[in-house]
Structure formats: structure tokens, C-alpha cells
Amino acid sequence: MKKRALFTLAVSTLFVGLQAVGGSSSVQAAEKTIKFGAPLPLTGALAPEGIKIQRGLNLWMDTANAKGGIKVGNERYKIKIIYQDYQSNTPRAVQTAEKLITDDKVNFLFSPFGSGATKAASGVSEKYGIPTIASTASSEAVYNQGYKYLFGTFTPNITLTQPLTDMVIAKRPETKTVAILARNDFFPLAIANVMKKSAAKRNLKMVFFEKYAIGTMDHSSALVQMKAAKPDWIFATGYLNDLILIRNQMSELGVKVPVLTMVAGPAYKEFIDGTGKLAENITSAAWWHPAVRYNGKGVMGKTENFNKLFKAKYNLVPDYAEASATAAGIIFQLAIETAGTLDHKKVRDALATMDTETFFGPIKFGANGQISSLKPPVFQIRGGKPLVVYPDVIKQIDLKFGIK
């Protein structure tokens, strides 16, 4: 009995301690602040992605706050981003978004990671009429729900695959067949299906199309079959770990191909570090690349300046996910400053009519809220660096063929 009493005491002390920690963190700053909610997958399978978004958002918050914050009418507000981990669990993301809105009373919201979670959580922000910017959702299905408060910084998937297909065929007309291996997951599957369309449009023959389950630990059977089909082009989709494994197993099994495209991963430094020499000549497309050059408005200014600030803060070269997160912040800031108020409806209207340029690219949203103004670059990994091969204005190198 005594032991139990002691334990109860210990646990209740712990509880009080926990509450105290919670209490101190929610002390309001004396100055005026605008609260932004950011439900992110900071733990679990998507943690690497969640941390990228956090990096991008923090860079915006710190840079903007150092310059005095957001100007609303004649007043200046500091930016406060409230992060909440949803453990890479989509329903939990929805729950978290609602908690941020109703409990933390955030003024504006950033979407969770990826098309799937964004789509799921968009219903909540629509319900409460909270302007929300998605920095990592590209599937059109997300935006075609008829919602008014959701805006996204990624163009539809087809804008990635179509230029790629056109260019490959232009530079290598003998390209006739394509093989696709896709992770059975929202975005990887969506982009694989779009690639299928792009290929069909250009009369490429599909010699192999298979999906693999999430958590697949071996791709050798699929790769051996692909090898037997002798495609001109292999298009593999998945996340970092899948793609690193697929590339390594291709090499182990001697799968050689003129063109190898991987989405989404090669843009990340972690991919190049994880594949080493095998990364050479892999092509991919993304919504942004550090080589693009825009004369941006907002606290970041030009693209060069963003690259410099990012490097100074994290000692890393930014990738498209990080840049998109920073851009999402800047877009909010520009819209709030244009609206001159924190009113949800007015800020939403300012977003809908926005027509400007940031370091990320020209910003103009379509009627469904998805950005319509971006021209995603195509790039190839050469000498351990992703270099732009398309569009011509920012081209750094010519496309090269052959994967060993």
C-alpha cells in the first residue's frame, strides 16, 4: 500500500511537471504576433520531409522577424509558427490541424506534408475558413474539391513528366520503350500514372508497369524482369530509401539503360550522398532548383539571396521542398500585407488575386487554388550535383545518356 502511495505521488509530481513545461511555453510575448499553425510529420516515416519543411519555414520566420515582422496596415506583427508533430499518421494530421485552429487559435495554417495528408486536412481548414498554403502537394485531386481556402505552390504532376518526355525524345529520337516501377503510395503512384499518360502521348511503348508495396525490402525480381524487357527508359518512383535501394540493386544486377528517371529524391543531397557514383546521369524533375533565377519580392529577395541565406543558416544547399516551404511563408506575408488586415476572407481574396514574383518563381494561383505560373525545371545529376538541363534559359549542362 505504501509503495503504491509513493508511486502515485511520483506520477502526480511528473504530471505537474509536464503541465508546468506546457504552461511556460505558452506564455504570450508582449509584442503583437500572428500565429501560423504547421502540422508536420516530425517523427515516423516521413520525418525527413517534415524536418525539411520546418527548415524552410524557420528561415522565413527568422528572416522576416529580423526585419521587423509582417506589416499589417500601420502596425508590425511578429511571426510565430506553432509546430505540431502528427507522427506521419494522416488522420492524426487532420486532428492536429483542427487542434491548431480551435485550441491554439492560429490565424493561418500551413498544410501537412504531401498530397494525401493535404487533401485530408484541407476539409478542416475549409470548415473553419482558415487560409491554408500547401507547400508539398501537387496532385490535382487535392485542389479539385471546390475548396476556397486552400492554395498550393506545386504545379500539377504532368508539368514534371511532360517536359521531361518531350526533351528525352527530342534529344534521343530512338527512344521507343519505357518501364515504370512505382511505390504504391499517393504521390509516387500519381506521378507514375501521369508518366504513363505522357509516354502514351508521345507513342512510347510501355514494356513494364508494376507497383511495389510500401516497405519493400527487395526489388530484384522486378529489376530482373525489367532487364529482360530491355527498355530505353526506366522511370522509378518512391521516396529516398526506396530509390537508393532500387539504384543499388540495379547496379548489383547489371541493369543498364539509356535513361533513368527517379522521382522524388534525386534533388535531395541525401540521395546523392546515399548513391555516390551511381547517381551519375540520373534525371529527375522538380518544382524548383537552386539554379533558377528570379527577381523576387518579399523578405528573401532574389533567388541567389535565398540560396545564400539558407547556406548561412544550415550550411546546406536548399532543395525544392525547403524552398517551397520558405516560399509558402513569403506568399502569406505578401498576401497579408496586401490585404492590410488579418481578416481570413480578405487574406484569402488577396491570395486568390495574387500576381507577383518571389525567389521561388512567379506566383499566380489558378481558380482551384493550385499555382499555375511555375515552370518546373528538369535536371540531371552530373559530377555529384543536380544540374539543370531544361528549360533553356537556365540550362547549366546538356542532357547526357547512359546509366551503368
Binding site: 517523427t43 515516423g44 516515416a45 520525418a47 525527413p48 524536418i51 516501377l181 504504391n184 508494376e210 507497383k211 511495389y212 508495396a213 516497405g215 519493400t216 525490402m217 527487395d218 526489388h219 530484384s220 525480381s221 522486378a222 530482373v224 524482369q225 529482360a228 529516398l240 530509401n241 537508393i244 535501394l245 543499388n248 540493386q249 547496379s251 548489383e252 544486377l253 547489371g254 541525401e270 550522398d273 546515399g274 548513391t275 555516390g276
Partner: protein, 288 residues
Amino acid sequence: MLYLQILLNGLLLGGLYALIAVGFSLVWGVLNVINILHGTFIVLGSYIAYFAHLYFGIHPFASVIISGSVLFCLGYVIQAGIINRVVAAPVLMTLTLTFGLDLLLNNAMLIAFTADYRKLILTDSLGSYDLWGLILPLNRVAGVGLAALLTFGLYRLLRDSNIGRAIVAVRMDREAATLMGVRVNRINAVTFALGALMAGAAGSIFSIIYPISPINSGLFLGKAFVICILGGLGSVPGAMIGGIALGVIESYGALFFGPEHSTTLAFVILIALLIFRPTGIMGRKGYE
């Protein structure tokens, strides 16, 4: 040739799978503890190999010794210090305990190493060998060879050493072993530590094949479960057979039904096996 190549791939994958399961099966069979920590132990072994290679240029096959010893010590401490307090409790209790410990250790690794995937790249990769059209991925072959060697080592240890015979005795009959003067608590700790050692060694070998991240621990744990049932609990040959069976089934499953169905197929076989032969392919009656 395609079928032969896929058989070879399946066997190599199976060799790796076997290594995942050996330690897990041992702990489960002897201690009656389902060690949820096992997957995280493997990932920790991978990190040790990764950093040993990065900072000291040690080949992962050599760092098996380091990761094995570190995990042995960690396993001994965790068992003797924490799990032994409730080792006699029902299996759900120890399962919940190791589940809690796993949350703790995995989160610690997430903070220490971040969730970013890393990959150890060998500077002197062995490449592949073309044997009349049959491709042999040599790094993988070497890795599986080493895995077989380690597993055989464990097998001999259990059969031929005093401590090994004591472990087997505890597995067969805990009470009788106690009466015969076996110090069961010590045997428990050594067994758990051996299980962790095998996990660490597996981690080292895996570092040349799989990207490394704390996120992967659940994947390894899931495979360990399946293999244990396929092969039967608690015996080294059982885990070997179970692993190889799973590797081959998955490889042919991917060929015939498509890669998205290969794991489903393995599970269906597993359910069938559970219904008709619950002691596994190699299992003997009496260990349920």
C-alpha cells in the same frame, strides 16, 4: 535463366532475412519475451558500422565485431537491469515493456542521428560477377556468407559450450534447469545479450545494402515475426529455414503476382502454415 536468377536473388535475400530473425527467435524461445526492441537494435548496429566506416575507414564486415560487442553489452544491461524484473510475468507484460523501451531507444536515435536516410558506400565495392548470364552481386554474396558464418557460430555455441547447453536447458524446462543448478537470471541476460549481438551484427552487414534510418526498425521487426513462424520458434536452424523460405517466396511471388503482392503471398502462406502446422517448418512439438 530468369527463374534461376530469381532463385539466386531469393536465396541471397533469405540469407539476410535469416540473420534478422535468429536473435529474435532465440530470445522469444528461451526467455518467452517478444523483443520489440529487436528492429531498433539492428538499426543501431547499422549506425555503428556507418560511423566506424566514416571516421575510421573500417569495413562493415570488420565492424561486425564492434557492433556485436556494443549490442551484447547493451542487451545484457537492458535484460539484467530492467526486463528481468518482470521476466516471469505473462508475455503481454514483457511485450508492453519492450514496446515502451523501443519507443524510448528509437526516439533517442532519432534525436542523435536524425531521421535522414544515410547510406554507407564502399570505396572498394566488389561489383558483380557474370556467371554464364547469371549475375552474382558479390557484396551481397559476401554479406550472406558472413551471415551464415555468424549463424553457424551461434549454433555451435548453443550446442557445444557450457553456457549454450544451459541456454538450451532453460528453453526446454525452466524449473528443471533451476533445480539442476543453472543460474537462470544469468542465462536470461546472456541469451538476451546474444540476441542483441546477432541484431548488431545484422545491422553491420545490412549497412552495405540498405539505407540507414531509425524509421526502418519496424520493417525489420515485422520480418522477424514472419520468419519465426515460418521456421518455428527458438531454434537456429528454424530461423535459417524460415528466412530462406521467406526470401524465395517473396522473390517468386513478385515474379508471378507482381511486386505489390509478394508480401501478401508470404502472409497468406504464413496463415495457412499457422492453421495446419503451427510449430513451423522445422519446429518440434512441445514448444508452444
